[in-house]
């Protein structure tokens, strides 16, 4: 077989070392400033790309990253693998049952939050084609479809990160935003894959990434795309769900689950690439099919996540900066136009959905700002459109800027509307009669049943109803926060004030925790159905408190609820003053 030369291998390895090292250094720097790592990683790429390194030291730049030849091909092969893995992870995070079970408001936010920006983008493209850089005679329909999709898509990883930073990840508001974003992503990718199919048919041989027009016709591509989506999300999903337990019990765990996931991902990616849409769409669909199965344990997800987030994702984001010269193609008015139309479309759509779903204005605003975050998905979409010739460098850079700006501002804006004055304090909710120093339960179901009975008694509720509500919520996504704690919860119709019951299990119970540790402290939280605020505030306090390792240790070892209350009181004060 033809091989890379020693010089090419040296450049390739050194190139990746520099890319990964610089990306992680900048990513960590931005994390320190409480900003998303992706912003730093893309900046690192701009430094290494034609914008800075290419302008200052063109020889060094072209030695590392030549425009053609074996080395360019080698980079492309590995970056393709990286982005395939990134989309696998994005798909794994999607669990449509979360959306269905969030009820009417979530569904309305999803639909309007996706539809309105799409329509505004589509119409905006037709209204001012020259402003967006479309030459007369170019394929305006394809661009309009792409632009609508680009404005309606969300960024699940960035949104998840913001939810975690705000301690909202497993609350109902967090789940609503996540569920609605999943819907946007899924619909967005399906529409975009059809746009890609259209491009592939109309594009000539001059586009480097198409089949040169030899792919199947547009009708066939759309049919095949919808066929693959339908198959993956029904039969494929069911097959995965049935085979995972067999693999986990009969083969090596988690190793063989990794191999199995990778084989399916590569095969799915190859299938979508073959029918004329991009490989990453198949990887994304396989991720959705696998992620839906509750047999995929949180710990396996964590291993995969670590590898992709800290190795493959940075390599991909750095490579963005290599694609274009960000200074030469920086078009201020265009960028401003994209930002305005993107903010207006997304915020208007989400507000409309939330208000129709009868959510209070504060919650609606928080949800809309959350949904407005775009990140990796926007950039991948833009990159493909650039490679297929749907857009030019200036528009690509405007989309990258849109992704970065929304990633940066969504957290602070959401924060403004979430942290209203505290009404409920953790230590006041914990009283002696609601502390179980030694749970009898051996499973998470038993623990929830045991604690629900106590909670129901103290609030004069039906114990069965409470148990059912909390168990139903638990089944959507496990409520373990890691660190040996879990917060099963539910919103109960007719409840007047929050109820908190704490149980302690010496042996630990399996709540499918992300860190694989057994759960020893279980907080059962009931809040009134019509108000999301107490849940957000109380779960936020629990999450913040247990980030402190010393505090955790004291709580694990104590059997007195007064001790727990005292600790929480002191530590919450300490942590917040910090």
């Amino acid at each position: 077989m033809e091989k890379l030369s020693a010089t090419e291998i040296t450049a390739l390895l050194l190139g990746f070392a520099v890319m990964l090292g610089l990306a992680r250094a900048f990513g960590e720097l931005f994390n320190r400033m409480r900003q998303p790592a992706i912003v730093g990683e893309i900046l690192a790429g701009i430094l290494l790309g034609p914008t800075v390194l290419g302008a200052l030291m063109p020889d060094v730049f072209s030695w590392f990253f030549p425009a053609s030849g074996n080395l360019a091909i080698a980079y492309h092969a590995i970056i393709t693998l990286a982005v395939v893995l990134l989309l696998l992870i994005a798909g794994l995070e999607i669990d449509l049952s979360i959306l269905w079970r969030q009820g009417r408001a979530a569904l309305l936010v999803s639909i309007f939050g996706t539809l309105v920006p799409f329509v505004i983008g589509f119409a905006g493209a037709y209204a001012f084609p020259r402003f967006w850089g479309i030459e007369p005679g170019a394929d305006l329909l394809t661009f309009a479809l792409f632009f609508g999709t680009a404005l309606s898509i969300s960024a699940l990883p960035v949104i998840a990160k913001i939810m975690m930073d705000l301690n909202l990840f497993k609350t109902d508001v967090g789940m609503l935003v996540m569920g609605a974003a999943m819907f946007s992503d899924l619909v967005g990718w399906i529409v975009f894959s059809i746009v890609l199919g259209m491009m592939n048919v109309t594009a000539g041989d001059d586009s480097p990434v198409t089949n040169g027009g030899h792919g199947p016709g547009i009708g066939v591509t759309i049919m095949l795309t919808l066929g693959i989506v339908a198959f993956t999300l029904t039969l494929g999903r069911w097959l995965v769900h049935r085979s995972l337990p067999w693999i986990q019990s009969r083969l090596s765990w988690p190793g063989d689950v990794l191999s199995f996931t990778l084989v399916l991902t590569l095969a799915g990616a190859a299938a979508t690439e073959a029918i004329g849409i991009h490989a990453i769409f198949g990887a994304f669909l396989v991720g959705v099919a696998i992620g839906d199965s509750n047999h995929m344990r949180a710990q396996t997800r964590t291993v995969l996540h670590q590898f992709v987030t800290y190795i493959f994702a940075p390599i991909f984001f750095v490579s963005i900066g290599l694609e274009a010269n960000f200074l030469e193609n920086f078009n201020g008015p265009l960028i401003l136009g994209v930002l305005v139309i993107a903010f207006v479309g997304k915020l208007a759509g989400c507000m409309l959905g939330a208000r129709l779903g009868r959510l209070p204005t504060n919650d609606s605003l928080a949800i809309s700002f959350g949904m407005n975050a775009r990140g990796a998905m926007e950039i991948i979409l833009g990159l493909l459109a650039l490679q297929y010739g749907v857009i030019q460098e200036e528009m690509f850079i405007a989309l990258v800027v849109l992704a970065l700006v929304t990633s940066l501002v969504s957290g602070p804006l959401m924060n403004r509307f979430v942290y209203r004055p505290k009404e409920w304090k953790l230590e006041e909710l914990l009283v002696t009669s609601q502390f179980v120093p030694a749970l009898e339960a051996g499973t998470s179901e038993e623990a929830i049943t045991e604690l629900s009975r106590i909670a129901a008694a103290s609030a004069g509720l039906n114990a069965d109803l409470v148990t059912r509500t909390v168990l139903a919520r638990e089944r959507i996504v496990g409520t373990s926060l890691g660190h040996e704690i879990a917060v099963p919860h539910g919103r109960i119709e007719g409840l007047k004030r929050p109820i908190l019951v704490l149980g302690h299990s010496a042996n630990g119970i399996d709540f499918d925790s992300p860190d694989g540790l057994p759960t020893r402290l279980i907080f059962l939280l009931l809040t009134p159905a019509q108000d999301m605020t107490p849940q957000i505030q109380i779960m936020g306090q629990i999450a913040r408190f247990f980030r402190n390792e010393q505090a955790r240790q004291v709580i694990y070892d104590t059997r007195s609820v007064d001790m727990v209350r005292a600790m929480i009181k002191t530590e919450t004060g300490l942590v917040e003053a910090h």
Copy 2:
């Protein structure tokens, strides 16, 4: 940048899906038959390569794996990354302090087990050059150096797997074999890298992987190689050891430890490739430098290990089968000759070392058969020699067969000499006075001190001496076996019979377990210094017993030593009858 076409991406992704899927399926099949997975993975490659697929369906084969062009380059780039990561893992497993602390016998086995096969191989090459396929006029010195190295190198991953299968992994015999194999590997790779440097200077432009003779001269290459080795194993190692705690405490864990490890590995690989020896040598050295640090937690190693063992290693092993036609180049007499000279050299060297170290004949034989296992390392060595033109296809296939045969027979042969009739039964060693139902200790040091005191009292030994011995052993490699158990142990001068003390910790203690779980059952085991057998037998029984999950659960929950003894008695019987 120049990019792969859609058809090429499809072939690449589908090719890797098939490679990984078939490799893991065959690997698991061989695991089921209690054989090393690598044998199945290489067979999968022979099926996919020119030997079977290429002969039966040449069109399909050349669509997937063309001999030249962009696709060949893309495969080579990804397989290069895979083998770089494989060598990183191989290096991580090397911890030279294990060897030094095993004492005189281990050192003698290392030295003679490496030197004798090297000398026999080197002499054999000069005595019968034509038999090994060396044409008159070819560079016999380079071949002789290579052949000696190929016969002296071991296969740490295969040996580690055999030790685990025989429940010997953390016993003294296991550690001795592992330590000696590490020595062989380290010396072997240094010698081989010098051979590569020689090749690189003498080879002309016709060899596809050399610099085309433009590399530095041979003297410079050797100096640079030794310089890099010296730097990595002294200052580099120290720097890694100092930076790891900072990274683990200040940055994201384990994600940033992964990024850090990868960046160093890629940079090290690029450095050795640049000076004219192969990239994998640098990856191996970085692995050694990082693996030596006890700040690299077992759990981080496990994550890395899972990814490489189940994704990158299978891809590399499958690619071996793509390199040559195994039927056309199958030379029976040559293979037999290689097998004979390899077995004779390794067994003679190890027996000599072990007997000089005054080990009993049984233990010496067991150790020699263990050291005879070759696997991945042999194959990588052979592949490089093939690519650099030091050997031809027939010799390459003989080396692959040698690796497979020794991987298959080492376990059974070793087993014969390790499992002599049992003298010590676990349940008889556990008596009431030596069971601590609730350990006070919070750290592994405290637990060892607490249990050592009891063990010393019951045997009339000095408690400080016992504690020191066990702690010293613990510091070499943690004795956690996962599943919440650990078996700290030591061999004590003057002790007449084994002493076993069991401690139970409700909260769990950090013994740096591979699965990240806290350790709740701690078996402290003391055995006589001059006899390795009781330790092997007792630790084997503990490891086997705790593979059974039901048995584990009962033990965790009980506080009565009689219950523990009864369980062990029944379950050991059950497990063994199984």
